[in-house]
């Protein structure tokens, strides 16, 4: 049985380790490195643009950058203010 395990079932776990590392590090580098600044800059500028037309608070604009191995997503979540709160 052990021999069968060895021959068929037990693929090495190193490839999985490698893949998990690549994904988590891409994410962490985005948070710690220069792309972290990118998120901050985007947050400020988008907030400024939205604030020109809508009355929004800082925490109503949320930005999330998610970097995966194959696909990265930039998520922008803007909470609309209640009716009649249009700024100008």
């Amino acid at each position: 049985m052990r021999l069968l395990d060895f021959l068929f079932a037990r693929r090495g776990t190193a490839p999985l380790a490698r893949e998990r590392l690549q994904i988590i590090l891409a994410h962490e580098r985005a948070l710690n490195g220069k792309s972290g600044d990118l998120v901050r800059v985007l947050q400020e500028e988008i907030l400024a643009v939205v604030a020109r037309h809508l009355k929004v608070e800082r925490e109503m604009v949320q930005i999330k950058l998610d970097r995966g191995a194959g696909i990265s997503t930039l998520e922008i979540d803007i909470q609309m203010p209640a009716e009649g709160a249009a700024a100008h």
Binding site: G12, A14, P15, A17, R18, L21, L25, E28, R29, N32
Partner: protein, 271 residues
Amino acid sequence: MAKVLVVTSGKGGVGKTTSAAALGAALAQAGQKVVVVDFDVGLRNLDLVMGAERRVVFDLVNVIQGDAKLAQALIRDKRVDTLSLLPASQTRDKDALTPEGVARVIAELREKFDWVICDSPAGIERGAQLAMRHADQAVVVTNPEVSSVRDSDRIIGLLDSRTELAERGERMEKHLLLTRYETARANRGEMLKTEDVLEILSIPLLGIIPESQEVLRASNIGSPVTLSNPLSAPARAYFDAARRLRGETVPMTVPEEKRGFVQRLFGRRVA
């Protein structure tokens, strides 16, 4: 021109102190004047690994606070006379190190030695940042294991942002030292391979230190492995790495233990 080298890793227990001692000794054995400085204030161990624990009178904190002269705190190795140790304090806490004080001591060491090797504490806090602050080059010690690789990545980020070199807009030369490597397990897909770690961290490779019982044996007897057993696999790997630090081109191999007939015969016994 002296070189200041920080040996760092983020994660604890990967072999920073072992590697700082072995690389320092290997450079000194080649005739270079070397001092290894323990930055792990409160948890010093370099003295023990280098077999000088009973000779510590003054330490780095004493020198920084002006209670002792640098020459009084330096401990010269009894086996290699170009090798010295500057121990950390065991009784003080890490706040006893001041950035100005560390800068002054490093500057003074630069005048006396060819190599100033700073053995960093684990972590990414103050102590680790002070150890790397004045470095010209860094050795990032990494095990082929996920948590170690992740922490090394974090430390590389700090080397590129929180050091004097980085703040001046210059590039810090960084080297990867892969320790506790097991070629057979890596080949079987059980352990990250050298290429995996290199691809993820993207810094040049300084050396591959094979997993070996000689490393524990060396720390048991208080001797860098390049002195306790110069022909052992890890010692040969450290000698190669030291030569690369000096700018030599040495083919990259993972040294293997040479086992004689008698060793093979008795190799399996427990003690």
